[in-house]
Amino acid sequence: MNDNKTKELIQKSVLQTSDAFTKELMEKIEFKKSQVKAIRKALIIACISSTVLLILITMVPLHFSLFHYQVKLPSIMIKIAGSVFVFTLLNKLLSLRSELS
């Protein structure tokens, strides 16, 4: 079997991408870049708002009246609920960011 002939045949039959390939790729990259930027921004905002939320949660009054009833909330419950919410939010944002990058 002629090795050179095989090489020549294969090299002459190189496939070509569509004309818009490079343009589409560059647009995809730009789009992804802007998405990553947006996610980063959202992450910073989420971090700040989570911190504020955590501070507020710790300051929530645990005794208040609702329709003439006196409500007593255990402080630990509010803290746990708040923490779960904040960490779920952060986890979602982080996984979204790693998916995009």
């Binding site: 045949l9 294969i10 002459k12 039959s13 190189v14 496939l15 070509q16 995809k28």
Partner: protein
């Protein structure tokens, strides 16, 4: 970004041929190739100069294609490559055709070949990688590569013979 664009322009066609060898679908191969180039851009800082840049790039392209293929579980063409053996290995069998026709026959032949065989043929003859570099890209052993290459060449000519023979009978 201009450097990256130039890099894409330089390697896109050969990489596309490799992607088509594995995926056998040009539209899908283009999409996967775009993902592969994005991986290259995101991981270029990890390139350690242990191998040539092209070998590293082809490895990313091949791995991305194999991952997609694994997900899709498409082995549609695997059975089609079982072509009855023809004794002739005459390399001049395409001489009577013009370049465009030849290209069509070769493309059709590669589509009918097993993905492993088509990939190795293109890595070895089109990308002009050495057996050692092909091993780096595919993770096959060197002896395995030699065996597959031998079989691939044989199958390529068998399929070509069959295709051109069928054409002549019409």
């Amino acid at each position: 970004m201009l450097a990256f664009r130039n890099l894409v322009e330089k390697y896109k066609d050969v990489s596309f041929s490799l992607a088509c060898s594995v995926l056998k679908d040009e539209e899908e191969a283009e999409d996967v190739l775009q993902d592969a180039f994005m991986k290259v851009l995101n991981n270029v800082h990890k390139f350690r100069f242990d191998s040539s840049f092209s070998t590293w790039l082809y490895r990313i392209v091949v791995n991305t294609c194999l991952n997609v293929k694994e997900k899709n579980k498409k082995h549609l063409y695997d059975d089609l490559s079982e072509v009855q053996e023809v004794q002739s290995d005459d390399t001049s069998l395409l001489d009577k055709y013009n370049e465009k026709e030849r290209k069509i026959y070769i493309e059709a032949t590669f589509k009918l070949m097993k993905p492993d065989e088509a990939l190795l043929l293109r890595l070895y003859y089109l990308c002009e990688l050495s057996i050692g570099e092909v091993r780096e890209v595919t993770d096959f052993t060197e002896s395995n590569i030699k065996v597959i290459l031998y079989r691939a060449r044989k199958n390529m000519y068998n399929i070509l013979n069959k295709l051109t023979g069928n054409e002549l009978n019409h």
